[in-house]
Amino acid sequence: MGDIKGFLKIKRRPSPYRSVSERVKDYKSVALLRKEESSIDQASRCMDCGTPFCHWACPVGNYIPEWNDLLFRGEWKKALGLLGATNNLPEITGRLCPATCESACVLGINDEPVTIRENELSIIENGFGSNLIKPRPPKKRTGKSVAVIGSGPAGLACADQLNKAGHNVTVFEKDDKTGGILRYGIPDFKLEKRILDRRIKIFEKEGIKFLTSTNAGTDYNTDRLLKKFDAICLAGGSRRPRDLTAEGRNLNGIYFAMDYLVQSNRLVAGEKMPAIGAINAKDKKVLVIGGGDTGADCVGTAHRQGAASVIQVEVLPKPPECRTCECPWPKYPAILRTSTSHEEGGIRRWSVLTKKFTGEEGWVKKVLCTGDGNDFEIEADLVILAIGFLHPEHDLLLRELNVEFDQKGNVKTGADHMTSRKGVFSAGDMRRGQSLIVWAISEGRRAAYNMDRYLTGGSSLPKL
């Protein structure tokens, strides 16, 4: 805490965004990187609390006050070291995290919280910019081999930790590129893929092997997997989307959000649109069903594709603008959140239940909804379903491994992340169900700690 009075002197100032008119024309990052001086100012607002609720609310337990202080003092390198101690992908969370820490920031009780997420981003980007982040392969290898299935945030975090511990790590990715949901779920305007590539490259240089386009269980059979590796971590995410069982659901023009976003992301990455089944919002009246973050990503994507109109509906009532007593500080509050995509246009409606799709020539045209006791129709010729995910795909690998699932259909593990099958662990959405990136990282780390213990009898990896 460099300046004890900092929080009284300086107001919260988040990073600027590019102007709407400019940013909707491309898929480049909406947010601009904040100037370092501004981050230093903002860091001075941190009170270095005796009980840092931010650090408590952060799933990976980022040492927030500590690096805020170092950031304020300009001790970038040390700050970077501490940030890296708890977070394998700070450049990702620094951009994408909903920042439960900020909701729990003590300053937020009666003032505006510290811009923790952006301070995190400043530190990591400064690290990249000053060439402080270099591949550091482990000095010693243990000779043990580990397979991590899935290269999303959980898989990457797990792989990174295990690799640091000296194990030989192979990451299996069924897609042709690594990153999972980070690459294919998150639009570039929120996360430019070069950021992800930059990190993967380091991981590779540190010795992690990535087997892309390799669907474990199918392209690489389960027995071989079990034989070749001393331990396995299942981190395949929770990809089975929740569906709507309304009349007319089988009409054309109704898609799952992930299908839509994956296609768009591939396109932005320079891949070609598939000949069949291309989903494009250009000149379409787009209806996004589901008011969450994925829905918002679809909204932003639709804007950029040149949709004629975009409407987003949510079944739940409109959340309050600010914290209510039911959800007191320091809990993460259910309040109205307006994303950059919403700023870019479109209409949001709440308490809207989708009853029926009607179409022409097999193509959706209208959606019958009900809300506030009235039925009404929304015109739409592209409907995106962004109403969440059920559980992981119960694919061949899971079936052959014969792991138990929990009631929701997620992979069941003990507190040590080990599944019902010895030596097979699980982490991330696959285990806990759909959640935040930062939780996925946390899961990956915890799984790695337990796997390290499993493999060697002890671990000097952090427990959290």
């Binding site: 005796g50 009980t51 609720f53 006050p65 003092r73 040390k78 003590v106």
Partner: protein
């Protein structure tokens, strides 16, 4: 044997912690003429001091009294004829009282032993005389335990020529008999005790009250008992256990005070025995060992060593100067010769440190001496007819005023000596001059003593440390250590500050493998002796170290000072290198490695034994210094914890009597914070080199975290450590590191008896704990973590999490979950939510934190909840902690008061007064008046009116966050409002001294209780203590001092800002302190006299229930209350930066406060509800039934087995085994003795003034038994007329005589006291607007400006008023004066200390350390001899010439002084004012001057660090 009748150690009670304090005095005929009159006068002095003694549960059994006189030969001649003993001439026989067992057989054995040994020593017993006693008037318990008292007569063998030789012979006989009987089969509880066998002196003493002595010893009624000397002593003990043998005087002396360093002194003496050589005591000197008789009191121990020094040939005064040296190190006024004397003797012995007034005599000379701090009163009068009367009080003997030649007091570090053979008084200066010239000390030192600073440094090749972070990890360094300890110390040279108490697990319960240092808690002085102020009274403090082998104590040669003198025992690497390579004076250094190979667990203890062995052989090999070094730790090679090694080596060498032959230096990576160093020194280290801390600083510098040079950082760091160490010493009342070294002033929490015995012998460790194996395992674990076998090494250090909660750090009971659960529950008023909260606190499975988490309730038959006492009455037992307005905001402070008043419970003002507006009710029946008004050492805002408006007056002796320390509220935090409630000036720094300057002993506390009870007879008086070993015995003393309630605070509690090391490492949990207190009070049958309260991290109904079962009647809450008011444990209280407006004075932040009284009401009701549920489940209907029912608690085996650390809680759950220690003691009300005070007469006589404000004049005689005169009258006036009192001079009282203590205390507006005569200590304490005039008796003719007229600590905490004192005052005149205008004709040491306002004119000499810590007001000194500058402490104040305004003030006040007292000094000055005014200088605090200049009406607040309680 000593302690024969004390209960044995049981439960948490340990007789070793008994204290006593006393009255001491003597009467002496200077001419040496023996008379019965002198004996009778002595007896009268003894009786007059009786209010300084105490009685226990049995009103007629005192704590012991007695006297020592010259051999009453004439009387014995007669008595021996009756006893058919043929008595030789005076000088040819020795005699003394022997306390013998009642059992015939045992008595026979004792007497046979005597016969045997006397004969072996070549002397002859000429007979035993049965001493006639009349026990009709003594108390029951005294009678029941009375020994058979006989008098032995031993005839001198003709071959002995010298009187001293015969005394030595008698000494050897006594020693041998003592040793023989101690090892015999005599029942340990039988009395056998030899008072004093001498051919020169004789003593009568016993378990008597002073007034009983004469009647009990029939001999004393015989007029033929004659002596020129009578030394008397009346004892005030903390316990009520009859102990005949602890009565004083001892053989040579009587002591009033407390030797704090006793443990160390005893150990060092024991070690010295190995080097003692003399043929004076016969062939085998071992016969007199142990020199200090085991099990004796501190006073007995100092008598033992004094006796040895005198009998081996040193004069009385020489021996006294060795034992209790003056503070010489920094005294600018002391001669070099005398300094050399002290320096030379410092090479032989450490000071016996602690408050001490000692009277001593060998039958020819009699004297008295005070320790360097002078914390005990010692007044004397020399009469024109050649008599000297010395006593703890003036007026102890009625002396005609016209007979007084000199009225004086012994000054700190000085001595009064009468030589009756020469028939003269020897002045202190003459004694000191003679002693300092007795030998060529100066040349001896020059030749032999080597100064470390003078050694030439070598070019140091720093052994490079590779892999620094790993090494740091191996020694348990955390990021917090770097951030909160090393960095701030290196940066600011200050010890880091924190706040909000300690809520982490005790080291033994922690999962984080804490370093061994964390298992120890610092002990501190409370009540029985004062803590000291290491900053403002630095002049008495010293860290000097004399390294090297000692020589024979019984000899004096140049080689005795063959030592290496080290100014600061924290060595830099360069310093250590110098010592390592020293080649002068046959100094040689050997390094002993503490490393062990981690192959198997046993290597650890093997290595530990080997280290001890190597140390002993190093001595035999002629080495003079050893370095215990842990350099070289690496993978697979770990180090024995430095403290463990230090303790083991020290103890081993002490036991082998080798310790004084070697200097021990610890070269260790481990110590980094103040506590670590204090421990190393406390367990015997001479010097410490913390090399890794230095490396860590270098690392910080390299990384840019510290913008300093290496040298500057080290300098700052050492400075911070030095200050911190001095503070640790001072909190125990110890002045010099030399006497702290090895004094072991710690309590262990969580170490096994085996570890204690081996390494920390004598240290209390009451719940057992880990052994060597566990210590080894944790050491190995740290090493393995630092150097992992495989895989990756984390680059960063561990989190720590002791000072701030962290996810991967130490557990905290206040953590995000518990804080938010508590807030939600109390804000929503939701009991279910509260239960969630209490579950989080109560169930500590997996992260055990508190001792109570290891206890569980016994399964009993439950009763329905509605049969349990209702919540309304239970909640009345609740209080809130003492949090001052100043430490928390006005809003928070008043919200708490309103809530507590709504509940009928009590809130506490804390230190710092209260706005009188709050005494009135608010609309809606609310009231913001705090029921408990605290009286703390700073006495801020403690006005008569404040005291009157209280239901309870609480004397804060210590606080959990920093027991034994003072506080400071920096000027910039003293806003207009705060200044108003504290009666000071805005912007002026307010310092609270570590001790109450009117409580240096238990009898002083009794006096303050008496004072407060007088001011407000309706208020109950409580005393706040902090848990530590021995708090039970202190509490027993407090109960005997008539407190109504005793609060035992846990050492972990406290919301206030304090040094981190104090928050973490001082004080013990309340479970121990409360339980010990309850047990001790039960044993003493005192429990029924007082109520007990506890606080310190109480949170839930379960906590409260356990506290009740362990003995508490009442319960206090603090941090939970603040959390309810919005606190989220930022732990920023000390920064004035509380973002939720709770602990801040900042206007903007205060607006963020959102606490409400109903939240607190909700919470406390919930706590009661949970408590009631527990009561129902235990089948208990009322809290009264519940108190002390330890049988309803049992250790939770499951929880205990979880931590696997062998904790044993049986001592906490112990039920005292004494017959009278039963639960159903009838509750008795304390008898405060205020039904006979002079004030009742004053109130009667001033009825018209009180009712109608009519003027009245009263004239009355007064004597020293009339204590606290004026307080009750003043309280009455405030009750009737409020703060404003009465018009000036409405009630005028004239007294003649010698007033008792606290004359004119709390005198309020409208009352004028005139005293003709003298007064004792605490005149005008807390005076709130009254006027006090004093002058010598009209019949006296001594010069007032040369003689003492009032005692110590006059006008302490004065609020306002006037005082005109024609005469000289004792020490600490006008300290912490807020606004009094006073004139005095001379003052002792520490005048105007901590003063914050008012004006003081001193028309004569001042003592040392004037104006220390003075932050406001002005003092004017009539500096006739230009001596003042040397005496003034200029760290906060300037000396300057007076200006015109000052002249005006001086002229007016001197005119008053003349008018009221007819002072010749004032007359002379006023007559020639133009000339005389030039001799005045003024002392004005720098800060005060600036403020006065700016005349700031409104004082803006700035933010900075504060440390205010």
């Amino acid at each position: 044997m000593a302690y024969g009748h004390l209960p044995k150690r049981q439960g948490l009670y340990d007789p070793a912690f008994e204290h006593d304090a006393c009255g001491v005095g003597f009467v002496c005929d200077i001419t040496g003429k023996a008379s019965n009159e002198t004996v009778l006068k002595g007896l009268e002095v003894l009786e007059r001091l009786s209010h300084r003694g105490a009685t226990g549960a049995d009103p007629k059994t005192g704590d012991g009294a007695g006297l020592l006189i010259q051999m009453p030969h004439e009387f014995f001649t007669k008595a021996c004829i009756e006893a058919k003993i043929d008595l030789p001439p005076l000088g040819d026989y020795g005699t003394g009282l022997i306390f013998l067992p009642v059992d015939n057989k045992e008595r026979r054995l004792c007497k046979d032993t005597f016969s045997d040994i006397v004969e072996k020593e070549g002397q002859r017993i000429i007979g035993w005389r049965t001493v006639p006693v009349d026990d009709s008037d003594i108390g029951v318990s005294a009678k029941n335990t009375a020994p058979v008292i006989e008098q032995i007569f031993i005839e001198k063998n003709k071959t002995i020529k010298e009187s001293l030789s015969f005394e030595r012979k008698l000494y050897i006989i006594r020693k041998k008999v003592e040793n023989k009987i101690r090892s015999s089969l005599i029942n340990k509880s039988s009395s056998f005790y030899i008072t004093n066998i001498s051919s020169r002196t004789f003593s009568y003493k016993g378990l008597l009250m002073p007034c009983q002595v004469e009647r009990f010893f029939v001999d004393l009624q015989d007029r033929r008992i004659k002596s020129a000397i009578t030394l008397v002593h009346s004892r005030y003990s903390t316990n009520t256990f009859p102990a005949w043998d602890l009565a004083q005087p001892f053989r040579f002396l009587a002591h009033n005070g407390e030797i704090n360093t006793l443990r160390g002194n005893i150990n060092w003496m024991r070690a010295r025995e190995g080097l003692m050589k003399t043929d004076l005591f016969g062939k085998d000197i071992k016969d007199i060992f142990p020199v200090i008789m085991p099990g004796g009191s501190d006073s007995a121990a100092i008598d033992n060593i004094f006796e040895l020094l005198v009998l081996s040939g040193r004069s009385l005064e020489h021996a006294m100067m060795m034992l209790i040296p003056n503070a010489w190190e920094t005294d600018r006024a002391m001669s070099d010769a005398l300094k050399n004397f002290y320096k030379y003797h410092a090479c032989m012995m450490e000071p016996w440190d602690g408050p001490a007034a000692i009277a001593f005599s060998d039958g020819v000379k009699i004297g008295a001496a005070l320790d360097r701090n002078g914390l005990r009163p010692a007044r004397y009068i020399i009469t024109k007819d050649k008599m000297v009367v010395m006593a703890s009080e003036a007026g102890a003997l009625d002396i005609r005023p016209d007979n007084i030649l000199v009225s004086g007091k012994i000054e700190p570090g000085k001595m009064l000596l009468v030589d009756t053979a020469l028939g003269k008084i020897i002045e202190d200066s003459e004694i000191k001059e003679r002693q300092s010239k007795a030998q060529a000390y100066g040349p001896w030192l020059k030749e032999n003593m080597v100064e470390l600073a003078s050694l030439r440094p070598r070019k140091l090749k720093e052994a490079a440390i590779n892999d620094l972070p790993a090494l740091e990890k191996a020694f348990g360094y955390t990021r917090e250590d770097m951030k909160f300890i090393i960095k701030p110390m290196a940066e600011k040279a200050e010890e880091p500050i924190g706040s909000m108490g300690n809520d982490t697990p005790h080291a033994v319960l922690s999962n984080e493998s804490p370093v061994l240092f964390s298992y120890f808690k610092q002990l501190f002085a409370q009540v029985t002796n004062p803590a000291m102020d290491p900053i403002r009274e630095e002049l008495v403090m010293s860290l000097e170290t004399y390294l090297g082998p000692e020589k024979n104590l019984l000899d004096e040669t140049p080689l005795h000072c063959h030592k290496l003198r080290i100014k600061n025992p924290i060595l830099t690497n360069e310093d250590l290198d110098k010592i390592r390579n020293i080649r002068i004076n046959s100094f040689r250094t050997k390094t002993i490695s503490l490393l062990f190979i981690m192959n198997n667990k046993r290597d650890f203890s093997k290595r530990l034994d080997a280290v001890c062995l190597e140390a002993s052989s190093a001595i035999k090999d002629g080495y003079t210094f050893i370095v215990l070094s842990d350099r070289g730790v690496k993978k697979g090679l770990a180090a024995i914890p430095s403290l463990l090694a230090m303790g083991a080596v020290h103890q081993c060498l002490v036991k082998k009597a080798l310790r004084t032959r070697i200097g021990i230096i610890v070269e260790s990576a481990e110590p980094r914070e103040v506590h670590h160093f204090a421990l190393l020194f406390g367990y015997g280290a001479d010097c410490v080199n913390p090399y890794l801390a230095y490396e860590a600083m270098d690392q910080l510098i390299r990384e840019g975290g510290l913008n300093l040079s290496r040298a500057a950082a080290q300098h700052n760091y050492i400075k911070a450590l030095s200050k911190g160490i001095l503070k640790v010493l001072s909190k125990m009342g110890i002045s010099t590191l030399q006497s702290y070294r090895g004094a072991q002033i710690f309590e262990a929490l969580g170490l096994s008896a085996g570890v204690i015995e081996k390494c920390f012998t004598g240290t209390p460790s009451r719940v057992g704990g880990i052994g060597l194996e566990r210590i080894a395992a944790e050491t190995i674990k740290r090493n393995e973590e630092a150097y992992p076998e495989r895989g990756f090494q984390r680059p960063e250090l561990k989190t720590g999490g002791l000072y701030q909660w962290k996810k991967d750090g130490e557990f905290h009971l206040w953590n995000p979950e518990t804080i938010s659960a508590l807030q939600e529950a109390s804000w929503c008023g939701d009991y279910n939510k509260y239960k969630e909260f209490s579950r989080l606190i109560n169930d500590q499975t997996g992260h055990q934190c508190t001792l109570r988490s290891l206890l569980k309730f016994v399964k009993t038959e439950a009763i329905p909840l509605d049969e349990v006492e209702g919540p309304e009455s239970i909640v009345k037992r609740f209080t809130t902690g003492a949090m001052s307005f100043g430490s928390i905001s006005k809003e928070a402070h008043e919200t708490i008061a309103i809530a507590m008043n709504r509940l009928g419970a009590k809130s506490n003002t804390g230190e710092g007064g209260e706005d009188p507006l709050r005494f009135d009710s608010l609309p809606d029946c609310d009231s913001a008046r705090s029921a408990i008004k605290q009286v703390a050492s700073g006495r801020f805002g403690v006005t008569t009116n404040y005291l009157v408006n209280a239901d309870e007056l609480q004397i804060k002796i210590a606080q959990g966050a920093k027991p034994g320390e003072g506080g400071q509220l920096p000027g910039h935090k003293v806003s207009v409002t705060i200044a108003k409630t504290r009666y000071t000036t805005p912007g002026v720094t307010l310092i609270s001294p570590p001790p109450h300057h009117d409580i240096y002993s238990i009898e002083d506390l009794a006096q303050l209780i008496f004072d407060l009870k007088n001011v407000n007879p309706k208020a109950r008086i409580s005393v706040k203590l902090v848990s530590e070993m021995g708090v039970g015995t202190v509490a027993a003393g407090v109960a005997k001092g008539h407190a109504d309630m005793i609060l035992i605070s846990g050492g972990d509690g406290g919301t206030g800002a304090s040094p981190l090391s104090s928050i973490k490492h001082a004080g013990l949990p309340w479970e121990l302190g409360l339980s010990e207190t309850h047990q001790t009070l039960m044993l003493n049958s005192l429990r029924s006299r007082v109520r007990l309260q506890t606080d310190g991290q109480l949170r839930t109904g379960r906590d409260v229930a356990i506290a009740a079962l362990l003995g508490a009647d009442e319960f206090g809450f603090a941090s939970a209350i603040l959390i309810i008011l919005g606190c989220v444990m930022l732990r920023h209280c000390h920064l004035n930066n509380c973002s939720v407006g709770v602990a801040t004075q900042d206007d903007i932040l205060r607006r963020r406060f959102k606490g409400r009284p109903e939240y607190i009401v909700n919470y406390l009701r919930f706590v009661v509800e949970e408590m009631r549920e527990i009561m129902a489940s235990l089948g208990i209907r009322t809290v009264d039934e519940m108190v002390g029912r330890v049988d309803l608690l049992e250790p939770d085996r499951e929880m205990l087995s979880l931590n696997g650390k062998d904790l044993d809680l049986s001592a906490i759950l112990h039920k005292p085994d004494r017959l009278n220690a039963h639960q159903a003691e009838e509750i008795k009300v304390q008898s405060h003795g205020i039904d006979k005070v002079l004030d009742l007469e004053l109130i009667r006589l001033s009825k018209d003034s009180l009712d109608k404000a009519m003027p009245v004049k009263i004239e009355l005689p007064i004597n020293n038994a009339n204590r606290t005169t004026g307080a009750m009258l003043s309280g009455k006036i405030c009750k009737l007329h409020g703060e404003g009192g009465l018009p000036e001079d409405t009630i005028q009282c004239k007294f003649r005589g010698v007033a008792g203590q606290s004359f004119g205390a709390f005198l309020t507006k409208g009352v004028t006291f005139e005293l003709e005569g003298m007064a004792n200590d605490y005149v005008g304490k807390g005076i709130s607007g009254g006027k006090i005039i004093m002058r010598p008796d009209r019949d006296s003719d001594y010069r007032a400006d040369d003689n003492i007229i009032i005692g110590n600590t006059a006008f302490y905490g004065a609020i306002s008023g006037e005082a005109y004192i024609r005469g000289v005052s004792g020490e600490r005149f006008c300290i912490r004066n807020s606004g009094l205008y006073a004139v005095v004709e001379g003052v002792g040491d520490h005048g105007c200390e901590y003063m914050t306002g008012g004006r003081v004119i001193v028309l004569g000499r001042t003592g040392r350390n004037f104006a220390a810590g003075m932050s406001g007001g002005i003092a004017y000194i009539y500096d006739k001899e230009s001596l003042f500058k040397e005496k003034c402490n200029l760290s906060m104040a300037d000396i300057e010439n007076i200006n015109i305004e000052d002249e005006e003030l001086l002229r007016n006040m001197l005119a008053n002084h003349l008018k009221f007292t007819q002072s010749p000094v004032a007359r002379k000055i006023l007559n020639e004012f133009k000339k005389e005014k030039k001799r005045f200088i003024r002392v004005i605090p720098i800060e005060y001057k600036r403020i006065m200049k700016a005349k700031m009406a409104e004082y803006g607040l700035e933010l900075s660090e504060v440390s205010d309680g």
